[in-house]
């Protein structure tokens, strides 16, 4: 899309412009800005719709009506929220580290928008084609952890620090299974470009690589801090977590960033596992949208139903559950790929059957194993700690 816009723009403007130094480069940058403008606005509209949809759906799941006042069926509620947030007073705590405090929301928001640059929204509709775009996506998504720890540290709030530490622990843990779950796809497609992966998916990868899809979905839920892994802003424990001291539009940017991240994750999942814009009859951009909406519905449905895990359970799940599953998936997939190399007949069908037989049962085995490693209550001896005492107020008999 970038090259297309650039060429057309250059052709149109060639007649008017003097043939001077750097003119081509200026037009190139300008066309990049146009594309960025389009993508960012599309994502922002998507976020507004997602906020409305989430609140509406959660309402219906809970047998309430959800927002239904402002606009037809409450469609403008997120717009009203955005306007309200913009005009709210912006409070910066006195002890806050001002520069980092202000930088943190941007750090969360920018990487999310960057992800959209490599995602094909329709057949042939993408901003840029990087040959290692899969790696690019993985690299860019991990920046959000930095933003959260910046926000927490800068606001000098203990609850925020708790939240940031949880977030970083989760990010580090879940990067690994998420990254490894994509290795199976790389082995089959032999390419790191998202475009190649999309064009390869005559059968969506969720059928060929079910366990990888499962792990990737759970891992990305953890990375965008959604239920059941929303420990970062666990409302019943940490109030609002790292956003505790933010107000006004800075808080709005965090909110925006989180919902944009949900859309980004859904888009990446669609692209990698659901066949992206591929589909019969309907235009490809419609297929892409439908699939993204389905993934988002799944995320909201889970949020409406499940409680959240505890931090040790979350980390156990990552290291003792999902990590093993991805390793098994890699082993099985690589053996299968060696047996049926590229070009052999019915390759994908065999790979699919092998994956379902040899990898999927491990989900249940790992679930059983995880159950035995339940968290146990320990009687904590706190003699080394100066603060308070852990001894019960009611003296037990014989003690």
């Amino acid at each position: 899309m970038l090259n297309f816009v650039y060429e057309n723009l250059y052709k149109t403007l060639e007649f008017f412009l003097p043939d001077s130094f750097l003119i081509k480069e200026i037009i190139f940058v300008f066309s990049g800005l146009i594309i960025a403008f389009i993508i960012i606005n599309a994502v922002l509209v998507g976020v507004l719709l997602l906020i409305w949809g989430e609140r509406r759906l959660l309402g219906r799941f809970q047998q309430r009506s959800g927002p239904n006042r402002w606009g037809p069926r409450g469609l403008l509620v997120s717009t009203a929220d955005a306007i309200k947030v913009m005009f709210k007073e912006d409070i910066v705590p006195e002890e806050a580290d001002k520069y980092i405090f202000n930088l943190a929301p941007l750090l969360l928001l920018i990487p999310v928008f960057i992800i959209f640059s490599v995602i094909p929204f329709a057949v042939g509709l993408y901003a840029v084609n990087i040959n290692v775009s899969l790696l690019f996506i993985l690299a860019v998504t991990s920046i959000s952890g930095l933003s959260i720890i910046c926000a927490a540290w800068a606001s000098a709030n203990r609850i925020a620090i708790f939240s940031a530490l949880r977030s970083v622990a989760m990010l580090i843990s879940y990067e690994i299974p998420v990254g490894l779950s994509l290795v199976g796809i790389l082995l089959i497609t032999e390419s790191m470009s998202v475009l190649d992966i999309v064009s390869y998916q005559k059968i969506p990868f969720i059928i060929i690589q079910p366990v990888a899809a499962f792990v990737f979905f759970l891992g990305s839920l953890a990375e965008i801090n959604r239920t059941p892994f929303d420990l970062t802003e666990a409302e019943s424990e940490l109030a609002a977590g790292y956003q505790n001291d933010y107000s006004g539009m800075k808080w709005g940017l965090f909110y925006l960033g989180e919902f944009a991240a949900a859309i980004a994750t859904a888009s990446v999942f669609t692209t990698l596992f659901l066949g992206g814009p591929n589909g019969p009859v309907l235009p490809s951009i419609v297929w892409f949208t439908v699939k993204v909406v389905l993934v988002l519905f799944m995320i909201i449905w889970i949020r409406a139903t499940w409680p959240r895990f505890r931090i040790d359970q979350v980390l156990n799940l990552a290291w003792k559950g999902l990590f093993e599953l991805t390793l098994i998936n890699i082993v099985v997939t690589s053996i299968v790929v060696i047996i049926w190399p590229e070009g052999s007949d019915n390759r994908l069908i065999y790979i699919t059957i092998a994956n379902w037989i040899f990898v999927v049962p491990f989900i249940f085995i790992v679930a059983k194993v995880l159950k035995t490693s339940d968290y146990k209550v320990t009687n904590f001896n706190n003699q080394n700690y100066p603060v308070g005492s852990a001894k019960p107020k009611f003296e037990k008999e014989g003690s």
Partner: protein, 225 residues
Amino acid sequence: MIGFGLIKGLLVTLRNLFGPIFTVQYPDKRAGIFEYAKFRNKSISRIFLDERKNFFLAILNYVKIPVRNEQFSRFRGNEFVWYDDRCTACASCAKYCPLGIIEIETHPGGENLQAGENYEIDKFSIDTGRCMFCGLCVEACPYDALHMGTDFEKGTYIRDDLVLDKETLISQKKNPSSWFRPQFESSEYDPWKESLPDSKKAGRHEKPTDEDIKRNWVNKRSKSE
């Protein structure tokens, strides 16, 4: 412990996604075209012909329908109903009030020393701003002069406006609640539909005889059996 419980929970919420809504929008709600037609008691084509603007608003789910919250007649409402011709200024209500917010001032009245004509009321005011609507004053009134009201939207900007003085109590709309007034319930009076400006219509609360209790005992379950 494999995840079937989680999936069962997902199915429960999915079923409720298509279920009815149990919350009530108050004081009005946005209605679609079908709901609006039902509210106006007209067919959809009739609405299209008569009220073009509302028709299009209703298609956008943008037309308002007032919602009245259904309260039971025993509801202890905000404004009090006071029949001044019945009041003998005995001040039982003022003595019974746990908060002491009923204020009564009297001076000796006419010659007739019968109950009710002995004193004349100078001041009778209830500070509803401090009232907790326990209804003990109504229970205390021996002459059925004071009743609880049924209304509830009485917010004001000035705190003194919440004090119901004698003039307000006489002039305001009288929809007495049936709290501690069984005569309303036996006559099936609905305070939400009609008001009782005259004290004679309100009736008196007599001590029920044993026959009355058996006759008026309103358990439909036993009737059917």
